[in-house]
């Protein structure tokens, strides 16, 4: 038992480190790389405030995807919104006391879990049913979908079929903050669920899941349309002017 607990302690420290360090590295890399030319997809906002609004519509509503493909939008939005609710619900394991809004969101988190799995199923089905999407799908795309579905299903099973001791789980995670190791319930479903979540955290900075930070750095979406009013020049391009 001690071995299992220790293994998960190590796993979560490791996964958290990879996630944070990997993402930080990527974000710094994106931020440091200049965008030498103004390339917003027009019509584009002409003010910074407009860009924030455009970005919010992309993040919250998936506006471009909505224009692009309604099915993918429905399933994609369902999955992401579900994931958001589930994540909020899970915050109760990580904070003490549990904030009031997080308490409120608890029941919705369950619907979120269901929406998540249904959305994923729809997205996965497209990978088999639409010949174009099938063509562009690689093994890793299936694996990531599989991983997410498995996380969702194990979670739902614990909620609805095989209950686990949530109090002990909470103690385990609270303990991690202060390296105060508490035993993890040896429930196979829980162990699987947690293992898969750790995997997700580890692959995040090395996979297409980078779309999350990527969106904020996409020049076609985050640039202000004002090239005539304001001269835009990258440091490496300015060097050309001196020669």
């Amino acid at each position: 038992m001690a071995f299992l607990t220790n293994f998960y302690v190590f796993l979560f420290y490791f996964a958290a480190f990879v996630l944070v360090a990997g993402l930080a590295r990527k974000i710094i890399q994106y931020a440091r790389t200049p965008a030498p030319l103004k390339i917003p997809t027009t019509p584009a906002p002409t003010t910074g405030r407009g860009v924030v609004f455009r970005m919010m519509r992309e993040v919250v509503l998936f506006e471009s995807l909505f224009r692009g493909n309604k099915w993918t939008w429905i399933f994609g939005w369902m999955f992401h919104f579900g994931l958001l609710l589930v994540t909020l619900r899970h915050l109760r394991y990580f904070i003490e006391p549990v904030w009031f809004p997080i308490q409120l969101v608890q029941p919705f988190g369950i619907y979120g879990g269901i929406a998540m799995v249904v959305g994923l199923a729809g997205l996965w089905a497209r990978r088999f049913l639409v010949d174009r999407v099938k063509y562009i799908t690689s093994t890793s795309d299936h694996l990531i979908l599989g991983l997410l579905v498995a996380i969702g299903c194990t979670g739902l099973l614990m909620k609805f079929v095989f209950h686990v001791d949530v109090v002990e789980i909470k103690h385990f995670f609270q303990g991690l903050y202060s390296y105060d190791i508490e035993p993890l319930p040896a429930d196979p479903l829980l162990l699987l669920h947690l293992f898969l979540v750790a995997m997700l955290m580890i692959i995040f900075p090395y996979s297409k899941l980078l779309h999350a930070p990527g969106l904020f750095f996409s020049p076609t979406r985050n640039q202000v349309d004002n090239p005539r009013e304001q001269r835009h020049i990258a440091p490496w391009a300015r060097k050309l002017e001196r020669s």
Binding site: T33, P36, I39, T41, T42, A44
Partner: protein, 524 residues
């Protein structure tokens, strides 16, 4: 009309999404550049030794210079929203013409050499070594992208395949694999001053001819000046405007508008080209060098404003990049944006009621309007977003009585490329051009059938040349494509100057361009 050596698709009422046909366009590739065309641009003359390492190094360099490339290589989730948006896929069914699959040609190399997952588990994430086969695929399919950015409109992360095509072409050029059409043309700009390779005296001659034609036609002396120091406005226009049809009718229109505005203006032999093919090959250096000519001309001619003629990608480079590449423009009149589009100029006059327009002069036509991709999705006109859609339409409405838009899904920022943009307007890519035009022509044909449309107006030299060439393949007439300023030219009622004769000369002038179509449409 040229005989097709391939099957020309049937136009359909709505463009249907074809099923995936792997390899359908694998045979399509433009002529390769030769040493003579490579060297002036600073590229090696032939495939260099050790090309693979050099290409990877170049890719690394570009990943550090362009955030777009860096982010877009990572961010795609293969959602498929872009897969049915590219006119080349819609026209050919070749899956590698789906934007995401086109990106993947580069992404698989990126993953192999620049990502942990691709180094460790290449098979799993679809990473591949940069082999000769992959390079051949690059050459073929990155020259089946007109950099129209339609895909970027629908992508949840705004991934712009044009950025990736440009980077791929830059990488290929850097190892000696260039495309003849683009690189030869850029060389001509450096040597002679424009894409068509028209020397100064020929331009002067042509413009004198235009002045005579307009005088014969209208009885009013409209000037078409070139290299006139101290003029207020420098007009930079695609060189196709000097010779090709219907481009030249647009140029005639610009002159008439300036005449009515009462401003002095001039063309320049040094900057006798608005096009900038440096963008198509993704080369910042070459794009900058081409753009610098405009700065030089503006300084030399001591002008106060710069106005661009009708050209799509040229307007993108002008509107979005000129300030970056050749600015700052602090020596010009600060009351006007630099540069301005001729449509902005004309529209302003119309708004102020300064143009006397007789719409009935265009009553022989029922018009529609083609939004050129670079104008629609990579630039703006006027002060408000979307002005690039409204201003040209407002001009058309002011100059003719019959106007109908095409299907909403195929105009404005969802417009379809003409099929010849992005450095693909060459005869060695005729099959691609014809098939890629299908989605646009489906929509055009629809308004022809339903609304009785007879002509389509455009503000892009490439679009005009491309449609002139491909319309006949589909059983339409080549002269169904017109310039927006051709409509202005027809409708405008000129104010006679002091030395003009009062009674009009009604003889039909001979406006046929002096040149027949050249072997390659070096328009722009």
């Amino acid at each position: 009309m040229a005989k097709a050596t391939f099957e020309v698709p049937e136009l359909t009422q709505y463009t249907e999404v074809p099923s995936v046909t792997p390899g359908a366009m694998a045979h399509s590739a433009p002529f390769k550049s030769k040493e003579d065309f490579q060297t002036p641009l600073g590229f090696p003359g032939e495939l260099v030794d050790d090309w693979q390492t050099k290409a990877i190094d170049k890719m690394g360099e570009l990943l550090g210079k362009y955030r777009s490339l860096r982010v877009y290589m990572d961010a795609c989730v293969k959602c498929g929203a872009c897969t049915d948006k590219c006119h080349y896929f819609l026209g050919t069914g070749d899956p590698k013409n789906m934007p995401v699959a086109r990106q993947d040609l580069m992404r698989k190399v990126y993953r192999r050499y620049f990502t942990l997952s691709g180094k460790l588990f290449p098979k799993l994430v679809g990473a591949e070594d940069f082999t000769q086969d992959v390079l051949d695929d690059w050459y073929s399919y990155f020259h089946q992208c007109s950099q129209c950015r339609r895909c970027s409109v629908f992508c949840p992360y705004g991934i712009d395949t044009a950025e990736i095509s440009m980077a791929a072409r830059e990488i290929m050029d850097s190892i000696g694999v260039g495309q003849k059409y683009c690189n030869e043309i850029i060389g001509k700009v450096y040597k002679i001053g424009n894409n068509l390779g028209l020397p100064g005296p020929a331009l002067i001659d042509t413009l004198e001819g235009l002045e005579e034609d307009v005088y014969d036609d209208t009885g009013v002396k409209v000037r078409y000046p070139i290299d006139e120091e101290g003029a207020e406005i420098l007009l930079v226009t695609p060189s196709a405007d000097f010779f090709a049809e219907p481009h030249v009718d647009g140029l005639i229109g610009y002159g008439k508008v300036f005449h009515e505005a009462g401003v002095s203006w001039t063309l320049s032999t040094h900057a006798s080209e608005a096009a900038n093919f440096g963008m198509f090959i993704g080369s910042y250096d070459n794009m900058r060098r081409v753009a610098q000519r405009i700065r030089e001309a503006a300084i030399k001619l001591k002008v106060k404003r710069i106005v661009f003629g009708e050209c799509g990608h040229a307007w993108r480079v002008a509107y979005s990049f000129l300030n970056t590449l050749a600015g700052p423009w602090d020596f010009l009149d600060p009351r006007y944006p630099v540069p301005q589009h001729i449509c902005e100029f004309t529209y302003e006059l119309i708004r102020q009621g300064k143009l006397n327009l007789d719409k009935s002069e265009n009553d022989d036509k029922v018009l529609t309007y083609h939004d050129s991709c670079n104008v629609a999705r990579a630039s703006r006109m006027g002060n408000t977003p979307g002005g690039q859609f409204e201003i040209p339409r407002a001009i058309i409405r002011a100059t003719c009585n019959n106007f109908y838009d095409m299907d909403e899904d195929t105009i404005r920022d969802r417009t379809f490329c003409c099929g010849g943009g992005g450095g693909l307007l060459t005869d060695d890519l005729m099959e691609l051009r014809v098939k890629g035009a299908k989605p646009r022509l489906d929509a055009l044909n629809n308004v022809i059938q339903e609304k009785g449309v007879t002509h389509m107006a455009a503000i892009c030299a490439i679009c005009k040349s491309q449609f002139t060439k491909v319309l006949p393949y589909y059983g339409l007439e080549m002269d169904q494509i017109v310039s927006v300023h051709q409509l202005v030219s027809n409708a405008i009622v000129l104010t006679p100057g002091p030395d003009d004769d009062e009674d009009e000369d009604d003889d039909e002038p001979d406006l046929d361009g002096p040149n027949e179509e050249e072997e390659t449409d070096e328009a722009a």
